[in-house]
């Protein structure tokens, strides 16, 4: 076994993390297809795939449940899936959150009252903590289902990759934290204070917020308070899944300084939280055929005129382009070397060269997969 196949030999869940714009979605899809081609039943959960990629895979956006990708699409691109199966879905965060509320509601009446609450209706996106918690809640649901050999989760595009790791905690903090607890303390004494009380704080609050908002909000808090136990349990299960034996994280980065810093920060957090890291992929490496060699730019235009018969103007243009690319290749190599050193020898690292053009079709995924599984 080579490359990713070896890294993921024991994995049942692979969470692909990294900062925005580094190729997480394409890497997730290429690795899922590659593992399917090794005979596994694989599902990949993506957040926001490029429309061209979704179309290329035949993904219907409305699902919110995995759909089987027709194996012919990959066979035609030279990657027969054999006995393996590739499934994929695009996450609908709002719907996933609604589903969760429905499942945790003690009865139909509570559920309907929550869905009808104006604060919930208007602001549930904000409660869901954007997409991070819903992504991992969906992952948990699919893992419970047990019908997959491997689940691949493409984490949401956030400025900070750590937002993802913090998501279960943030929601738990919302439900368990000082904030809501204060409101719900002693069977809702805090809420009574705010909702119906005539005390000082209530008077002041009404003065700065307005009475109607206050009453909608206290209804909202009271209703969600009934789901508290269920949420706590769910957050614990999700947290346990992130630490489970078959769960591993895969870091994805591009070779620029900031994504590399972020990848290192992410790796430290994983280590501190005792979560497994199977390896790191660096996408879109600028490479030239001379690596980091010094002095190759000296007298280059003259050499190009002489050795390649280019006109002086064209020779200058080619030399200028090469100077750019050479500088980027050296920069990228230095950043990857830093990543390798800081991650340590026990974390395998794979650098994938920049492919000419974006990867947004099945051919592209197969090409990327060939690099990942080489």
């Amino acid at each position: 076994m080579n490359g990713l196949a070896a890294w993921l030999a024991d994995a049942r869940v692979c969470i692909v993390g990294g900062s925005g714009g580094v190729g997480k979605t394409t890497t997730s899809a290429a690795l899922a297809a590659g593992m399917a081609a090794r005979g596994l039943k694989v599902a990949v959960v993506t957040i926001d795939p490029a429309q061209r990629l979704a179309t290329a895979l035949g993904l219907d956006e409305l699902g919110n449940e995995p759909q089987r990708i027709e194996p012919e699409r990959f066979a035609a691109a030279g990657l027969p899936l054999g006995d393996g199966e590739l499934w994929a879905m695009t996450l609908d965060p709002k719907r996933t959150f609604d589903d969760l509320i429905a499942r945790l509601s003690p009865d139909a009446e509570t559920r309907e009252r929550i869905f009808a609450n104006r604060v919930y209706r208007e602001l549930s996106d904000a409660i869901a903590g954007s997409q991070e918690f819903t992504a991992v809640a969906k992952l948990h649901e699919l893992a419970q289902d047990g019908s997959w050999d491997l689940l691949v989760l493409d984490t949401p595009p956030s400025r900070n990759a750590l937002d993802f790791l913090d998501a279960p905690d943030r929601l738990r903090t919302f439900f368990e934290g000082r904030a809501l607890q204060t409101l719900l303390r002693g069977g809702g004494a805090g809420l009574r204070l705010i909702g119906r009380g005539t005390g000082l704080v209530f008077g002041l609050l009404r003065r700065v917020t307005g009475a109607e908002l206050l009453s909608d909000l206290s209804d909202f808090f009271r209703l969600l308070g009934g789901l508290l136990g269920g949420f706590r349990e769910r957050a614990e299960q999700v947290e346990a899944l992130l630490r489970a034996a078959g769960t591993t994280f895969l870091l994805v980065s591009s070779p620029e300084r900031e994504p590399v810093d972020e990848a290192l920060f992410f790796a430290r957090r994983l280590r501190a939280a005792d979560m497994a890291l199977c390896g790191a992929i660096v996408n879109r490496m600028h490479v030239d055929e001379l690596g980091g060699e010094d002095g190759v730019l000296d007298g280059l235009p003259a050499r190009l005129e002489r050795a390649a018969g280019l006109s002086p103007a064209l020779a200058r243009g080619v030399a200028a382009a090469f100077a750019d690319e050479h500088a980027l290749a050296r920069r990228d190599a230095a950043n990857v070397a830093r990543l390798r050193t800081r991650l340590g020898a026990e974390v395998p690292l794979l650098a994938v060269p920049l492919l000419d053009g974006d990867v947004h079709d099945v051919d592209g995924l197969v090409r990327l997969g060939a690099e990942l599984f080489a």
Binding site: A50, G177, V201, V208, L213, L310, E325, D358
Partner: protein, 326 residues
């Protein structure tokens, strides 16, 4: 041209990783050069503008970076405290000290976004709501990534609607009216000439109209590669590559062709963006029954910076280009 110099509030947004912060700082540098008293407001708890000038300011503080140029990192707690104090004086201070009140604001969904947007609005008021603070001519907001930014821009109207009456409703409506007024507020969409960022920019057009009834006032395409070879020259180079004998020549020709291939893929994405924005803009005008000027959305390209890190001289260089938007 959008003439940003006459606006009060400019929100800079785009997909994660496209260079929003860079564009925001460079745009503010350009405005300050024009003599506008300008402030960059960062929303992500970062202080990248100040750091580029070697300053590490505390959250919520407005610091001077250079002549006419200031920066602040918007903090939710500080913004809330200021709001309460301005709104209710000593009574507000009492609330700030109340645990139940912190519980209430901490648990209310969307409150963070409301406070953040409210603070950027306050920075743009003349006179300022906070006594003793000097007004700015222009506030450049280094905003959240597209989806989150759209959600945040909607919160003043959402809260106004839920609250219906009372101070939050009133405040929400006032802020929303400022956001909807193209004479005061503009949104700049930053993108890269690549598939996903371009798709997100095109989606932003509809999302922004829905959120605040405005189009992006400009699109900035960041990190555009130079087109050093024309099509005929590229063929000459490809032929020379076939025949190349020594490895330095081979490597140089190969790299030049690779750069050319990427540059022309970028051109295709820029064209897709131009066409897509023009079409959406025309559809929007038609839907609004407004036969007004088909001026379209101006698009500005910034060059790829071939450097290890984006330092102050590099930012100054990008500011030169962004002056076109003022």
């Amino acid at each position: 041209m959008p003439a940003f110099a006459n606006k009060r509030l400019v929100f800079v947004t785009g997909k994660g990783g496209v260079g929003k912060s860079t564009v925001a700082v460079a745009l503010a540098i350009a405005a300050a050069r024009r003599g506008l008293r300008t402030i960059v407001a960062e929303l992500s708890g970062q202080a990248r503008a100040a750091e580029a000038f070697g300053i590490k300011p505390p959250c919520g503080e407005e610091v001077r970076l250079a002549e006419h140029l200031h920066a602040t990192s918007v903090g939710v707690d500080e913004a809330l405290e200021e709001y309460l104090h301005e709104r209710a004086g000593r009574v507000g201070d009492l609330l700030t000290a109340s645990r139940a009140f912190h519980a209430f604001t901490g648990a209310t969904p969307g409150m963070r976004e409301l406070m953040t947007i409210g603070k950027t609005w306050e920075l743009a008021q003349d006179p300022r709501r906070i006594s003793g603070r000097r007004p700015y001519d222009l506030v450049v907001v280094d905003a959240f990534a597209t989806g989150h930014a759209l959600g945040a821009l909607r919160t003043p109207a959402t809260f106004a609607e839920i609250a219906r009456v009372g101070p939050i409703a009133h405040q929400g409506r006032t802020i929303d009216a400022t956001l909807r007024d193209p004479a005061q507020t503009a949104v700049v969409a930053v993108t890269l000439p690549e598939e996903m960022p371009v798709a997100e920019t095109l989606a932003l057009h509809g999302g922004l109209r829905e959120a605040i009834g405005q189009e992006p006032a400009a699109a900035v395409v960041n990190a555009c590669l130079p087109e050093r070879l024309g099509p005929r020259q590229a063929r000459t180079v490809a032929d020379a590559l076939e025949a190349a004998q020594d490895r330095v020549t081979h490597a140089a020709l190969r790299s030049a062709l690779s750069q050319q291939a990427r540059a022309s893929a970028q051109r295709a994405q820029v064209e897709r963006l131009v066409d897509g924005l023009a079409r959406r803009s025309a559809e929007a005008r038609q839907a609004a029954g407004d036969g007004g000027s088909p001026a379209g959305i101006p698009l500005l390209e910034l060059p790829y910076v071939f450097a290890e890190a984006l330092d102050l001289p590099a930012l100054e260089g990008l500011a030169d280009r962004l002056e076109a938007l003022l």
